[in-house]
Symmetry: C3
Subunit: 138 residues, 3 copies
């Protein structure tokens, strides 16, 4: 069994934002030399998500509006976590979107359907963040 580890780095200039990281994950798989296995992709932070869905700007706007309805950012004092912080909503939004994606690696590439794309979703930006890509297989 082989394994490969890579960190991706992001600095989103706003509080929230979505980045398509599919090609960066693909590149990590090629670098690994692994042909058959699994790839795990997760933020190394607790106020961000890695998720798989459509690369369509209307949908990304709908996510923003919908998450803000399910877990509003303000008023900040509605959350007990917001004593020294103001990012409780970021923890909740990341919970809805999920932490990690696990994807099959087949013939040296992401084993994806036509529309599947991998995204990094930042909920508490304006700082450096890391995403871990871990590949195991053969």
């Amino acid at each position: 069994m082989k394994s490969y580890r890579k960190e991706l780095h992001f600095m989103i200039p706003s509080r929230r934002g979505i980045v398509n990281i599919t090609e960066q994950v693909r590149r990590a798989i090629r670098e690994s030399g692994i042909r058959e296995g699994l790839v795990l992709v997760n933020p190394m932070h607790i106020t961000a998500s890695v998720f798989i869905n459509d690369d369509e700007s209307g949908l990304h706007h709908d996510y923003e509006v919908w998450l803000e309805r399910l877990a509003p950012e303000k008023p900040y004092d509605q959350y007990r976590h917001n004593g020294y912080e103001d990012n409780a909503d970021a923890h909740l939004k990341r919970t809805i979107m999920g932490r990690e994606a696990v994807v099959a690696v087949t013939e040296g590439d992401l084993d994806f359907g036509t529309w599947e794309q991998i995204f990094y979703f930042e909920f508490d930006g304006k700082r450096d963040k890391r995403v871990l890509v871990k590949i195991i297989g053969e």
Copy 2:
């Protein structure tokens, strides 16, 4: 390390529907000959989920009502994604239910508790859909 890949096919005749796929995943594990490892099960589409819960029709009804409350199908024009499409709610419902299930394979079978069952949840049916089963281990 061995790996095994199989696609399951579904055509749900309504917009939404739940199918118990536990036995189909079990069969794939037997076919793989893998005794110890992990199995990943995910739709190859972005408007469907694979999830693990109870095989109880009352609960499945509750899911339908609850998801419709959290991410209503209509009015269609509440979502920016619904320009040429009408399935924005399907993307959001799939987000709540999650994309994939990762399950331990132990002694050649799903390593499950008493009530765990795997389901395919369709949110935009009336068309052919695929579920990927990828098993790695030994």
Copy 3:
């Protein structure tokens, strides 16, 4: 490829409760002797979650309030699942929080960012429950 399996046991004295299980998962990784791979952690039950977030009591309180808003426990008869049971809300809350966590194992330890911790979240306690830790790698 090596694999290792361990069950953790919990008996939460109240209906709901959160337990930090990070050190127990770490111990299982050390016992496994696996240096590079993946660890899967999941409840063997359908009314509990394993999730990764911050070990901060204010946030855990916020989760309780927020989940109760998204999937209220009462009135019990709002859910069709609650014929002989009263735990439909537990199935829904577990769906929001997710079932499982998959984490990279690197150099014989959890490959975590600074604030990542693993928790067991019970939604239907006062009974014995099990969490499965499955590690594969080399």
